[in-house]
């Protein structure tokens, strides 16, 4: 594959004196090009030991059987083939492929992208980048968790035993190798030097970057109540939490899930499927109250109860009981519920501390513009760690779009802006099919379409405003969710679809015409 990041002509072969170097500007970078015998080599011109752009003026020679250049400042030797600093490998420089063709010298100079975060958001950007500009960057990925990147959004099916843990892995190790991606797993980045454009990891690895991508994700909100730190109290956020939960699963085991949002409902359902006795405690009268209406909430509650999950609605947990480990909770209704496992699912917060400490502008999250660029033009950020136009993110869907936009800008091809769309929520527990998007409440100027099929457990509610779909709520049958989402996001008038709208795309006149 050839693109504009591939080979670039630097000068004629004769322009370089034998056994010496010249400095070439390739893109925005100085590269030192050396002629040694019949070969040419290319290294960064920047001497990491002195911080000066001087390597092109160093002396070319041979040391311990290796072709090297000696820095004109402190005289360290750098391998012409690999850029390794013979005296101090930590100070190695990048080497670039170089060759002579038709009397000219050609260099392939790639920039380095450092990705902080080995999760779905960061890797999404890398995937997009590989697809549109595979030669643009050398990619280095740092991940805090000691795992290969995995899809956090699929933790619930794993908990429910419906998916194997391996299956949610985003990419196998071989994928990183195949694409020349350097992965530092289990080694979080702890500092960013924006002046030098380097990052430093917990293990002390320092890597320079041309572009830095922050995809540090979010962390769960912890209960601020007595006993919240006891073993047995876990959030439901990562493979570690999942492991703790799976470890706590016992026959006749008892669990309390705090929070009746999407994650809490999924956790409760998953634990129940694993055979636990589960009580779900939720602050409001209605489950998933931000996303459902009363009828859907009632259907969901009935469905959970039918699965054997106890519900405590309009209740909070005041304390986790137990001396050395959790053995129960006390609720605001002054009820004690025995439980060896207490799962909290009461919200998340962006991981913005690293960025904040590097002086990047942050509010709740790292502030980015529509190109996913932070206030530092060399630093981009995506995913749950960001704040875009005052919005933070907790769902997987926006990441695809953010990743695409970010990759386009990293590759410097075209223009693309991230536009925040209405985001749907969907339960990922089989048999508990719930989808909700947009404004579903009745209000002045809104028209409501409903469909009920009690035996199938189906309830559909579509909300229109000025002949456009502004909200959709599907319970029991979410097959057409993508279509409604598309209609809603595109915002096209649905006048022509109105009569069959609730029956899905298969009922539209267009579909009929296509028969």
């Amino acid at each position: 594959m050839s693109d504009r990041h591939a080979w670039q002509r630097v000068c004629r072969w004769q322009d370089i004196l034998p056994e010496s170097g010249v400095c070439a500007r390739v893109g925005e970078r100085q590269i030192a090009v050396f002629r040694a015998g019949e070969h040419v080599f290319a290294l960064d011109n920047l001497d990491p030991c002195s911080g000066a752009n001087v390597l092109a003026r160093g002396i070319v020679g041979e040391l311990r059987g290796e072709l090297v250049v000696a820095s004109p400042i402190y005289k360290q030797h750098f391998s012409l083939r690999s850029g390794r600093c013979l005296e101090s490998p930590r100070h190695s420089v990048r080497a670039y492929p170089a060759r002579v063709l038709d009397g000219s010298v050609w260099v392939r100079a790639r920039r380095r992208l450092v990705v902080v975060g080995n999760g779905i958001a960061g890797l999404r950007v890398v995937e997009e980048l590989l697809a549109i500009a595979p030669q643009a960057y050398d990619v280095v990925v740092f991940g805090a968790e000691p795992h290969w990147g995995y899809d956090r959004s699929l933790l619930s099916p794993v908990l429910a035993g419906e998916t194997e843990a391996e299956a949610i892995e985003l990419h196998p190790r071989s994928w990183y190798v195949e694409h020349g991606i350097t992965l530092h797993a289990g080694d979080p980045v702890v500092a960013i030097d924006r002046g030098r454009r380097t990052v430093r990891s917990a293990n002390g690895v320092t890597v320079g970057y041309d572009r830095l991508l922050l995809a540090t994700g979010s962390h769960p909100v912890r209960l601020d109540i007595p006993g919240a730190q006891l073993p047995g109290v876990v959030s439901f956020r990562n493979l570690g939490d999942l492991g703790a939960m799976l470890d706590a699963i016992r026959p006749q085991g008892r669990a309390v899930v705090v929070g009746g949002g999407v994650l809490g409902v999924e956790a409760a359902a998953g634990l129940r499927l694993r055979g636990m006795s589960v009580t779900l405690v939720h602050r409001h009268a209605q489950l998933m109250d931000r996303h459902l209406d009363e009828e859907a909430g009632r259907l969901l509650a009935a469905s959970l109860r039918a699965r054997g999950i106890d519900l405590r609605l309009e209740a909070t947990v005041d304390a986790v009981l137990g001396a050395t480990a959790a053995c129960g909770v006390r609720t605001s209704q002054d009820e004690s519920l025995a439980a060896e496992l207490v799962v909290t699912a009461i919200g998340i917060r962006p991981n913005a501390d690293l960025a904040r400490s590097a002086g990047l502008r942050c509010e709740r999250g790292i502030l980015v513009d529509d190109t996913m660029q932070s206030f530092d033009p060399a630093i981009y950020a995506v995913g749950e760690c960001i704040q875009h136009r005052n919005t933070t993110f907790g769902m997987v869907a926006p990441l695809w779009e953010q990743g695409r936009v970010c990759a386009v800008h990293l590759a410097e091809v075209g223009v693309s802006r991230y536009v925040e769309r209405v985001r749907p929520v969907q339960l990922k527990v089989s048999g508990l099919e719930v989808f909700s998007v947009g404004r579903i409440a009745a209000a002045q100027g809104r028209e409501v379409l409903t469909l009920r099929d009690a035996r199938r457990g189906v309830y559909k509610r579509l909300v229109l405003e000025q002949d456009r779909l502004v909200g959709a709520l599907l319970v029991g049958d979410v097959q057409d969710a993508p279509w409604y989402l598309d209609l809603l996001q595109v915002g096209r008038p649905v006048t022509d679809l109105r009569s069959t709208l609730i029956f899905g795309p298969g009922a539209t006149p267009a579909a009929a015409g296509a028969r």
Binding site: V448, R455, R498, T500, A512, A514, R515
Partner: protein, 874 residues
């Protein structure tokens, strides 16, 4: 009974032979290849006869005031009422009102009883509404009611003129024979004269959409044109006719020039001239006319104007020629033969002729004989209304639906001292008003003879046992006669004895074409085995010898002064209401509506309105329209098109209160009648159209019935295993509870609902064990999903996987296609399926359609519609 029974179809006047075979699935109905009327063909109605035989809903025992009883009590009651009335008020205080669907033997006995023994002539039939005008026109021209044409003549003609006849729908088999002949011999010209574009126009070389009621101007104009062209058969006129000069003078006075004809008939000049030229040039011409001519206040004159043209050119009494009045009913002709009309005596003998009266009285050996005509249908009901007629026997007809000013007919029956109705069904609009109901044997249960439109006499034979206490009508009349003291003259053991007596009577009248003498000596076995045959039996075609029944043996040309219809449209009632039949229903639907298949062709009453008129009135397709005349109102959904001209609307005549509310066309038709024939003007009622403001339209498919129907308007369509209701009304009913009441879901669990409140849409479906039990669809406008797919789900046993999801959509999701309104009843092929098939396979001819989609390959009744679809898509 596996060998099969040969009988005759009970529907239209074509009188097709039917073969009935019993097999494991019940009864198989096939066309009789040996019958000359149809040579094996059947139309959609005939082919569906087997579906109308179930005993469900039949009247199987006599009832007095709704209470079931035995024959003795019922007949005693009837005899007492008739006897007392005759004794106190004379023979003209009682009446029989019969049907053109009774058998000749039924008629004969009733007529004999009334005219010879009771001594009055108040015996009339619904044939009065059908071809009474033609009867008088025949009598005026020929001195006798003789139809001088056979079906074969149509096939041998050079020109067939169809006047006021939608032959394709009303006489489908004859139409098909004509269409086949035309396909074989394209030189056979067909001209259709009808204000309305009908399915019959599919084979027409020329369609004259003349102004309603202007036929006499057209045919007077034709007579003048024939004179101008020198087309007269001088010798024939001189030797065998009288009145040509007067007829010509009258014609010239009204329609001397084609331009005048074009003006009067609102036709393009070139159409008129082309018709005249075609008529003049054709050597053999049959002019077939039907209700469009007869049902008129000048129906007799129109018939005469037609007959004049044939007499003038000598075009009758020879092959391929003649004026041809086709009857609507299967045995109208038989009724005319026995004299079963208030204006006839018996066996083509004349009531007003003393010799004829004496001959008949002598033959019957009766104590008295009616000496003056009785009351014709409309007058009869008027007499019932004002109390002159106090006891009325109605047999096999539904006058509360079929008479003009039908609400007055209903009021008349309500006021009548004594009404007895003999019918197969207890729930007709008329039966509801009877004090005594008598269970009549139905087609397939009774035996006798019928005569079709071409004077072909054939046997109807029983192939089913008499159910319950049902009896044939002749038996009932004999029982009444016995109880009135005339038993010696009505001691018939069976229909053969009646027929033999009728045949003996129909013999030897001087100059009459009708002569059944040759059949008088048939023994019972020979009668039973009687093959179809035409009268005059054993003689040549009528009038081949140019001898007519007038005393001078000459035919008459009758001067015709054209008259406009009795009621002209005016500012208050500016539209003209036309009425007629649809293809797959018969009369008031008491029989045909029992076939789910037949109900699919035109399931609902409707009003055809020209699209431009509809646009002016703000009427959208399917919206309810009130059709108001000076005397009454009918309500029907609008069907928009261009078949009816602007200013004209058309409504089918079939719907009664049993199947729809406010749909009886009779209620809006004034009782204006032809002064000679007494036939009502069904084709021309000035009306006013109004869009009926309703808040909602709905349809429901249910296993049960909705009673009473809480809606401004409703129609019920019996279907296979369920009923379809169409409803419309005002207000905001609580649909959810109505739906639960109507659909009666067995459990709340198996219940689904869809609402779009701001559009007024509500839909519900009830399912039980994967079987669809019912649906209700409500909207603000008539545009709801097509019913076809849901109807199939109601008929099918279990819902297929995936069906449930789209029940309330009323259509499957992106797979398969809708059948659409059924065109081919035999194979259940719908309009949409045909359109798709025609387009997909690039079909050009009806034959190709048949080969590919089967449609039209059985009865062929739908071929005109298929042709129209082909024409529409090319």
């Amino acid at each position: 009974m596996s060998a099969g029974v040969r009988t005759t179809c009970p529907y239209c006047g074509v009188g097709c032979g039917v073969r009935v075979e019993h097999d494991d699935d019940g009864v198989r109905i096939l066309g009789d290849p040996a019958h000359p009327a149809n040579l094996g063909r059947l139309c959609s109605k005939g082919a569906a006869l087997g579906e109308t035989l179930a005993l469900e809903g039949r009247l199987l025992a006599p009832r007095i005031a709704g209470r079931e009883t035995g024959w003795d009590e019922a007949l005693e009651r009837v005899a007492r009422a008739f006897g007392e009335s005759i004794a106190r008020h004379g023979p003209e205080s009682v009446a029989f009102y019969l049907s053109g669907q009774l058998l000749t033997e039924d008629y004969y006995v009733a007529n004999k009883l009334m005219k010879g023994f009771i001594g009055g002539a108040n015996i009339d039939t619904n044939s009065r509404l059908c071809m009474a005008s033609a009867v008088v026109a025949h009598q005026r021209a020929f001195g006798e009611d003789v139809v001088p044409v056979r079906y074969q003549d149509l096939l041998e003609a050079d020109l067939v003129v169809l006047v006021g006849s939608n032959l394709a729908w009303c006489h489908p088999v004859l139409y098909r024979r004509l269409a086949e002949e035309k396909a074989r011999r394209p030189g056979l010209a067909v001209v259709v004269i009808d204000p309305r574009r009908t399915a019959t126009c599919e084979i027409a070389d020329l369609h004259l959409a003349l102004a309603p009621g202007s036929d006499a101007w057209l045919f007077n104009g034709l007579l003048c044109d024939l004179e101008r062209r020198g087309a007269a058969d001088r010798r024939f006129l001189e030797e065998h006719t009288v009145g040509v000069a007067a007829a010509l003078a009258a014609a010239r006075a009204s329609a001397a020039e084609p331009a005048e004809v074009a003006r009067r008939c609102a036709l393009p000049m070139e159409s008129v001239q082309r018709f005249f030229a075609t008529f003049a040039a054709a050597e053999r011409v049959v002019t077939l006319f039907s209700q469009g001519v007869n049902q008129s206040t000048s129906g007799v004159d129109k018939g005469s104007a037609i007959i004049n043209c044939h007499l003038y050119t000598g075009r009758l009494g020879k092959p391929g020629c003649g004026p041809f009045s086709i009857t609507g009913q299967p045995n109208a002709m038989g009724g005319r033969e026995v004299g079963g009309l208030a204006t006839a005596l018996a066996a083509h003998r004349r009531l007003e002729e003393p010799e004829d009266r004496a001959a008949v009285q002598a033959f019957w050996g009766s104590p008295r004989i009616a000496s003056r005509p009785g009351l014709k249908a409309v007058d009869l009901f008027e007499a019932v209304h004002d109390g002159r007629v106090k006891a009325l026997w109605i047999a096999g007809t539904n006058p509360v639906v079929s008479l003009p000013d039908a609400d007055r007919a209903r009021a008349a029956l309500r006021r009548c001292e004594f009404v007895v109705v003999a019918d197969c069904f207890p729930d007709t609009d008329t039966a509801a008003l009877a004090q005594v109901l008598l269970p009549a044997a139905a087609w397939g249960e009774k035996s006798g003879t019928v005569t079709n439109s071409e004077r072909c006499l054939s046997r109807q034979r029983a192939f089913l046992p008499l159910p319950g206490a049902a009896r044939p009508d002749w038996w009932m009349f004999c029982e009444l006669a016995r109880r009135l003291g005339f038993d010696a003259h009505f001691a018939y053991a069976d229909v053969h004895q009646i027929f033999a007596e009728h045949a003996r009577l129909a013999h030897g009248a001087p100059g009459r074409v009708l002569d059944l003498g040759a059949l008088a000596d048939l023994d019972a076995a020979a009668y039973d085995a009687l093959e179809p045959l035409h009268w005059p039996v054993g003689a040549g075609a009528p009038f081949a010898d140019a001898r007519y029944a007038h005393r001078d043996g000459r035919a008459r040309l009758v001067p015709v002064e054209p008259r406009a219809p009795a009621c002209a449209p005016d500012a208050q009632f500016p539209w003209v209401l036309n009425t007629g039949r649809v293809r797959d229903q018969w009369h008031t639907m008491t029989r045909t509506a029992r076939s789910a298949r037949l109900n699919r062709h035109s399931p609902l009453p409707y009003l055809d309105v020209h699209v431009d008129d509809a646009a002016e009135l703000g009427i959208a397709a399917g919206e309810l329209v009130s059709v108001r005349s000076r005397i009454g109102v009918l309500v029907a959904p609008a069907r928009l098109g261009t078949d009816s001209a602007r200013g004209q609307v058309f409504a089918p005549m079939h719907w009664s209160d049993a199947f729809a509310s406010g749909a009886r066309v009779g209620a809006a038709i004034p009782a204006a009648v032809d002064p000679l024939s007494g036939e009502p003007e069904f084709k021309h009622a000035p009306v006013r159209l109004e869009r009926t403001a309703v808040d909602w339209y709905a349809f429901a498919l249910l296993r049960g019935r909705i009673e009473p129907v809480p809606a401004f308007w409703w129609a019920r369509v019996p279907a296979q295993g369920f009923s379809r209701y169409e409803l419309a009304g005002t207000g905001r009913p609580e649909w959810s509870s109505l739906a639960r009441q109507w659909l009666a879901p067995s459990a709340e669990q198996d219940w689904m609902e869809y609402r779009d409140e701001s559009r007024g849409i509500y839909r519900a479906a009830a399912v039980s064990e994967d079987r669809l039990e019912g649906v209700l669809f409500v909207a603000c406008t008539p545009q709801s999903p097509s019913r076809g797919w849901l109807e199939e789900r109601m008929t099918d046993g279990r819902l297929a996987p995936g069906d449930r999801r789209c029940l309330l959509n009323g259509a499957p999701l992106a797979q398969g296609f809708e059948e659409g309104p059924i065109v081919c009843s035999c194979f259940g092929v719908g309009r949409d399926a045909l359109k798709v098939g025609i387009a997909a396979y690039g079909l050009v001819t009806a034959r190709q359609v048949g080969a590919r989609l089967r449609a039209g390959t059985n009865c062929g009744s739908c071929l005109p519609e298929i042709q129209a679809l082909l024409d529409g898509q090319s």
